[in-house]
Symmetry: D3
Subunit: 137 residues, 6 copies
Amino acid sequence: MYSLNVREHFMIAHSFKGEIFGPAQGLHGATYLVDMEMRRPKLDDDGLVVDIGLASQSLAAVLADLNFKNLDEVPEFEGKNTTTEFLAAIIFERIATLIKTGDLGPAAKGLTALKVTLHESHIAWAAFEGELTNDAS
Amino acid sequence: MYSLNVREHFMIAHSFKGEIFGPAQGLHGATYLVDMEMRRPKLDDDGLVVDIGLASQSLAAVLADLNFKNLDEVPEFEGKNTTTEFLAAIIFERIATLIKTGDLGPAAKGLTALKVTLHESHIAWAAFEGELTNDAS
Amino acid sequence: MYSLNVREHFMIAHSFKGEIFGPAQGLHGATYLVDMEMRRPKLDDDGLVVDIGLASQSLAAVLADLNFKNLDEVPEFEGKNTTTEFLAAIIFERIATLIKTGDLGPAAKGLTALKVTLHESHIAWAAFEGELTNDAS
Amino acid sequence: MYSLNVREHFMIAHSFKGEIFGPAQGLHGATYLVDMEMRRPKLDDDGLVVDIGLASQSLAAVLADLNFKNLDEVPEFEGKNTTTEFLAAIIFERIATLIKTGDLGPAAKGLTALKVTLHESHIAWAAFEGELTNDAS
Amino acid sequence: MYSLNVREHFMIAHSFKGEIFGPAQGLHGATYLVDMEMRRPKLDDDGLVVDIGLASQSLAAVLADLNFKNLDEVPEFEGKNTTTEFLAAIIFERIATLIKTGDLGPAAKGLTALKVTLHESHIAWAAFEGELTNDAS
Amino acid sequence: MYSLNVREHFMIAHSFKGEIFGPAQGLHGATYLVDMEMRRPKLDDDGLVVDIGLASQSLAAVLADLNFKNLDEVPEFEGKNTTTEFLAAIIFERIATLIKTGDLGPAAKGLTALKVTLHESHIAWAAFEGELTNDAS
């Protein structure tokens, strides 16, 4: 099994709802380092997991939508706690969609799994990973 | 699959028995950076893998038991080589027990797997990982 | 010249005023890794730059005042852009005060210089450094 | 499941064929940090995944064959793009062979899986991983 | 004294002349992580050491000139060993020129010192640093 | 001013004397990552701060003397607390001596300053730095 990982980052504000969050119930923020890992059992004809340039662009495009935002004001996240693990899954879904629509190039259809890791500090990070179903329907 | 990781460290002295260890047969020591990764297929009601505060406290509590110790004098480890991989499994077992006894909170019962990685230097690390069986007995 | 460094982090929300900041004019946030470096020409009687426990506690105390806050609502920062470099100087001043008031222990009076570095991401960081004038007045 | 990882690096020149590579079609180079992860379900009699000294030597020996080379002139790679993911698989195969021939010691026969990760920069890395079939034939 | 640092990278091929270089006399290559640190005693009116966007663009522009090149074929470096420390000084000079010509914005004229660090691996790096003389002539 | 840095590590056991050390008064240990930074205003004739191979060998030789030792039993350190900052100064002195005796090669006589940093964990490190007086006597 092959894998390829690219790293980017984004910076947001948010707050959490629930006593379990203690002082993080206040409006604060985070820098998230994002690792996007793509997996496939065989390389494409160019000897690649995926075009690394397109992969970086696609990740940057997905993050640009969140970067420099107050997530408390993003309608899609209303009523949700935008925890690190929750955001990892959101970004996973958005990239999975871009792969299906061909934004990472035709060869990216060969990807079989994806993992998105968000580092919120040097001592804490969270991830969401899953299979990719690229067979159109 | 979701995962959450927290990092801590501890510092111990120990020695190894067996020619294969060469100069590490002498009494020496190590700083271990510890990464505790917890996995589960669905987030809890707060949008969390686990309460990160309780997770960090639990890891710190487990490590406090080893920190600033000479492992050669810990009765439990008598006759064992406390290698990095051995210690990773020890810490795995102790955290798994804390999860079962509820120290990481009731939601932590939803955890299905755990991985403990110990970094002994910038160029060497070892891990132990396994499924969690949270169904009481 | 000796130096000792301890690392902590904090997470805040803020926004910037001025066209030069582009999208960072919106309310967003950051995780800041903070490196506090203390310098002195001779070690104290215990062979230390400073009691590392007290140093970590003092840094944590200074950061607790900012952690999980929206800096746009902190009266002291009104009319200021709380850039990474600005915050480095703020934290420098607060630690310098703690050193003078003895919070880092009596031996900390031997410190002659201090540097505070704030990492806002894996690719950008800023610092403020200066001499310490510990001779009371 | 236990795992042990050792890190080394090597430095090479190469060029790529195919429009998809853009400016990387020119002769350039890379420093690759290499992480070799070995896995097994049970430790050997010394409490080890593998003799870490032999593991590091074996990895260094495999890399010495590539280090300070222009990969465009290595006959084995003729007609291939020596991408990061391609090289990860090459190094995987060479280490797997050394394990079979006993270069990592007799206990290394207990290894069941191997992963080789090559970091080409602080923001991009690739890996190849697979099962090991140590039962001779 | 304030400082601001931004990080980028580039990838090149080169060879060295002189027995002291051993196997590095062959054509090989490197990934260089580049840290550009800019220093000044007072912040500008926006609370900045320098516009971080312009700084990153300027560094990227300087590195684009070297990226994906075989340095043995760059006329300017003929007869020189393009060692890590030599390249650090080259990049320092080019950025210093951009600061003088105003590419980092008018406020960058307040910069008084610059340091360029090139990391060639996780275990070796080199730097060149010096004062900036911004008074035009 | 040019600088070159190489990194190595060593692992030791020790204990501290004095109430200020709390639980670190017990026999424990540490992994120390060691950064050796050498400085000079001009490169040598090969375009180098120093032969990086000799520098790494010299650092490794100095560390081999401490590696896998219980520092409490090293006669030279009797009555001393072998703190991170103390050890940084010890290693500084030993390397400075090697430079004077020519172990880093004749060109190393051009070095004017040296800094030795010891990282005891991912959140704490200490250093000793000073001028080098290479004019024999």
